[in-house]
């Protein structure tokens, strides 16, 4: 339950920062993951997983939809800029991975703070 709670919270915050992106920096979602971590006391490893999954899922869906609407035009170019082949899906996965990485540590930080205090 705790995992689900922090996972869902992270995901919601991440989506919210996406909606307000004009006024926020790109890493605002990390603050959201941090808050989600603070809200739920859990083991560090579990918090990391929840943060990772929460952000990765949202980023996966958002970038997948963007890529689909764009018919892969830009992602196909970008994956070649990054020299990682020609499949746009690689960019979707890479984005989810990178976002999730930051989200995991942010959520873990939140939980560590809660447990410290």
């Amino acid at each position: 339950m705790k995992f689900v709670a922090s996972f869902v919270l992270t995901a919601l915050f991440t989506y919210a920062t996406f909606l307000f992106s004009q006024a926020l920096p790109w890493w605002a979602f990390a603050v959201g993951a941090f808050v989600a971590g603070v809200s739920v006391s859990q083991k560090a490893f579990v918090a990391w997983l929840a943060g990772f999954a929460g952000v990765a899922l949202v980023w996966l869906v958002l970038t997948y939809m963007a890529n689909d609407a764009n018919e892969g035009v830009l992602a196909k170019r970008m994956v070649q800029v990054f020299k990682m082949g020609t499949s746009p899906v690689v960019m979707v996965l890479m984005s989810a991975l990178v976002g999730g990485l930051v989200g995991g540590f942010a959520c873990m930080t939140g939980t560590a703070l809660r447990r410290r205090v």
Partner: protein, 814 residues
């Protein structure tokens, strides 16, 4: 110890965010660029995206309706000139923001702000920023602004244009920046009138920068005056000038008496200057021609233009239509300036090609001492004025460049830049683009011109770069003027470096505008310009510069023979791949090759050349082999004569010079290789060149010209190849009407039929959107590569409901 996990987690989190927020080496900020909210994903435009907009601004005077068609060409319907310029600025920013700013940063010598001091081994500071600062690009732009300010129409247009660009920037948040900003990790700046002026200076650089004076002087020292005249003849036999040979002139002025002759011209002591700076492509030229009603099927003129420039994405050009109560114009514009630059309106059409004349000269300056505070001028020590250029460098302290300013202009090369001489030789640059000028006035007036008199009025003030302006009207006038403020030069003046202590070496006066070469309704029924010499030597002024020859020959030949011309005929002609140079050179090669001395593969290649139809079509191997063969022959003949013992760079003679020399006399002195003890003959050289070419081509899997040439359209950041279009199977080439080289060629093709309704066929290798994430980024490349055209839609006021309108933008006064 509960602190430890917290410490580790928070350090990891913050550390990751910081790392992903910064550019590490060539990598963009990873977290930022991959983020769905701020990264490139925001630039991944949905393919069914709508460009519809409703903008309210207190800077507008009235309502403007912009209708975008399916090619994203905006058709702007405005009520006054101010609003046109405003909306044009807004649209340029909306579709081409990054390109506009990047090009003006390059012109302003501000690339170090983006890239840092170096990219890999290449010094951005030395090779780009200092070069343009010291060449006086910013200085020239400032000078131009002073003149443009005095022209109320142009000043108002520039202000409105700048306001339009900035109106777009005001609503642009960082998450929506063009993707190149995100990759290079910087932000756009406000637009200014200076940036518009800088853009125009960049075009002057691209079209009227003659940086060859140093290499030409190096060559002159190597071969002497007599051979220099042979290598760079003022005239070629096969020249077919723009103005027919033998046409007499009635001029009001006469050329100045030469202050010095070529033989006694001062040149710096041997071995004093060496530099290697990137120069504009020498083929930055174009074709244009206009045929009179007497030669067309409809009885109305047809005007054609294809400017030859670097092929880039986004394209230099942005297509649009402008409609106001006083004029209705269509054509291409420069993102960076207001007005339609090449195009037509309801009465007339116009086009441009580069005049290729030399308006950039270098003068050796003698300073009193290493402080450079005084320089010698007509026996007097004059005080140097100093100009400071501060170059900001990303990640480093500013570089402050101090440039000595003299009577001649900025001292571009001195002990601190570009000169390896230990005695601190210095060279000032005298460039026409430094003189205050108002080029925008010409385009502004051309957009509104109704007849020949308006056209002449519009172009008469055009100062730099020299252009061949052609003209056609619905009332059946056709015309051409080679227009600029040209310096009156004596023969060879400006080819070489000149002595800057003596003012008699300066440009003594300007050729009066009416004495510029021109034609109005010529008997031959057409005018065609293709960067060849505008006239034979009956025109007494010295032109300088290096002129092309062969496109002029083939275009004139075709137009003389044609009658009952239609726009389709003109399409076929603009995309024609016939190689007239090969027509003239192949017989020489075939006559002198000794077949029995050829390697087996070379024998096969010889057969291909024999059977070749002289066309540079994509499938032709003959074009590939011939081009390689000629190049090898030219290199081997000239090399031993030109390469200096100290290896300093020299300028190479042009191809027509060699061909005509060999056709006249196969024992032309240069044929013998002076590096070898025996005396070579043309037979040996021609044969050896084909063997050499065969060796090189052996490893090439596909000799078909299109595959071999592998034409490409490069993104402005050449290194980002995924943003470019590569391996386009296109024919044509240098010296051919379809002048498509590897990444240079017809950047715009336009054919305008001056019927009552006006019929126009156009295409360019790019797309209206500058966003690599948009499906409209490279829409026209395929059609252009195939030699196809679109029919321009000339929208009328009542067409708002037409199904040709895909999106509507409304700009209203708030």
């Amino acid at each position: 110890m509960r602190v430890v996990p917290l410490l580790i987690a928070s350090v990891a989190t913050v550390g990751l965010i910081v790392a992903m927020n910064s550019s590490i080496g060539p990598l963009p900020p990873l977290g930022k660029i991959l983020s769905p909210s701020h990264g490139f994903w925001k630039n991944a435009e949905p393919v069914d995206m709508s460009y519809a907009l409703d903008i309210k601004s207190d800077m507008l005077q009235d309502k403007v309706e912009v209708y975008l068609d399916e090619r994203v060409v905006p058709h702007i319907f405005a009520q006054n000139d101010h609003d046109v310029a405003f909306v044009q600025g807004y649209l340029h920013a909306r579709f081409r923001l990054w390109q506009m700013e990047f090009q003006t940063h390059a012109a302003a010598g501000r690339l170090c702000e983006i890239f840092g001091e170096k990219v890999g081994e290449n010094s951005v500071l030395e090779l780009r920023d200092r070069k343009f600062r010291r060449m006086g690009m910013v200085y020239g732009a400032e000078q131009a602004l002073t003149k443009m300010k005095d022209d109320p129409e142009v000043e108002a247009a520039m202000n409105a244009y700048t306001a339009g660009v900035n109106a777009y920037l005001e609503q642009l948040s960082a998450d929506n920046y063009p993707v190149e900003y995100k990759l290079l990790n910087y932000a756009p700046e406000k637009w200014t009138n200076l940036k518009t002026a800088l853009f125009l200076k960049y075009m002057s650089y691209d079209l009227a920068a003659d940086l060859d004076d140093f290499e030409t002087t190096n060559l002159f020292q190597q071969v002497g005056a007599a051979n220099y005249k042979l290598m760079f003849p003022v005239n070629h036999d096969s020249l077919d000038p723009i103005l027919p040979k033998g046409t007499p002139f009635a001029l009001s002025s006469t050329p100045p008496v030469a202050a010095t002759t070529l033989d006694s011209m001062h040149t710096p002591a041997a071995g004093s200057v060496a530099y290697q700076l990137e120069k504009p492509d020498p083929d930055n030229g174009s074709n244009n021609w206009v045929v009179a009603g007497s030669k067309t099927q409809s009885g109305r003129p047809i005007l054609c233009n294809d400017p030859h420039l670097g092929l880039n994405l986004p394209s230099l050009w942005f297509e649009m239509q402008v409609h106001t109560p006083s004029y209705n114009a269509y054509g291409v514009s420069f993102p960076g300036t207001p007005a339609v630059i090449i195009g037509f309106n309801d009465s007339i059409s116009w086009g441009v090609t580069n005049a290729m004349r030399d308006v950039m000269d270098f003068y050796e300056v003698q300073f009193k001492d290493s402080t450079m505070n005084e320089y010698l001028y007509n026996g007097v020590w004059e005080k140097t004025k100093w100009r400071q250029e501060t170059i900001r460098i990303r990640g480093k302290a500013d570089y402050v460049d101090k440039i000595a300013m003299t009577h001649w202009g900025p001292v571009m090369f001195d002990a601190t830049y570009g000169s390896t001489a230990s005695d601190g030789r210095a060279y000032a640059i005298r460039w026409k683009a430094h003189d205050p000028s108002n080029e925008l006035h010409t385009f502004y007036r051309l957009n509104r011109a109704k007849n020949y008199s308006d056209y002449l009025d519009a172009i008469s003030t055009f100062s730099c770069p020299g252009q061949n302006f052609i003209f056609a009207s619905k009332s059946n006038d056709i015309a051409w003027w080679q227009q600029a403020d040209f310096p009156a030069k004596w023969r060879y003046q400006g080819d070489l470096l000149m002595n800057g202590t003596d003012s008699t070496n300066k440009w003594l006066f300007q050729i009066p505008q009416p004495d510029n070469i021109h034609m109005l309704n010529p008997e031959q029924g057409f005018v065609a310009t293709a960067n060849q010499l505008p006239a034979d030597t009956l025109y007494p002024f010295y032109l300088g510069g290096r002129h092309d020859m062969y496109r002029g020959v083939i275009i004139n030949r075709k137009l003389r023979a044609m009658n009952g011309i239609t726009p389709m005929d003109m399409q076929a002609m603009q995309t024609d791949n016939y190689n007239v140079f090969a027509e003239m050179a192949r017989p020489l090669l075939l006559n002198y090759v000794q077949e029995e001395k050829l390697e087996s593969y070379a024998k096969l290649l010889l057969d291909d050349v024999r059977r070749w139809n002289l066309r540079a079509d994509p499938d032709e191997k003959g074009q590939t082999i011939f081009t390689g063969w000629w190049r090898a022959l030219s290199d081997t003949i000239w090399k031993d004569n030109l390469v200096r013992p100290d290896k300093k760079p020299v300028v190479w003679p042009q191809d027509p010079t060699l061909l005509e020399a060999l056709l006249r006399d196969s024992a032309f002195y240069a044929v013998d290789n002076i590096a070898t003890p025996q005396k070579e003959t043309l037979l040996e050289m021609v044969t050896a060149s084909l063997n050499h070419t065969a060796e090189k081509l052996k490893t090439v899997p596909n000799l078909a010209w299109g595959a071999y040439k592998a034409t490409r359209v490069n993104h402005l950041l050449k290194t980002i190849t995924p943003f470019s279009r590569l391996n386009l199977n296109v024919g044509g080439g240098d010296k051919i009407i379809n002048a498509t080289k590897e990444d240079h060629g017809p950047s715009w093709r336009m054919i305008v039929h001056m019927t009552n309704e006006t019929e126009a066929y156009i295409v360019y290798p790019g797309g209206q959107s500058g966003n690599p994430g948009s499906k409209y980024y490279d829409t026209f490349v395929e059609s252009w590569a195939k030699g196809q055209y679109y029919k321009a839609w000339l929208m009328k006021s009542g067409d708002g409901q037409s199904d040709k309108v895909k999106w509507k933008m409304t700009f209203s006064k708030s």
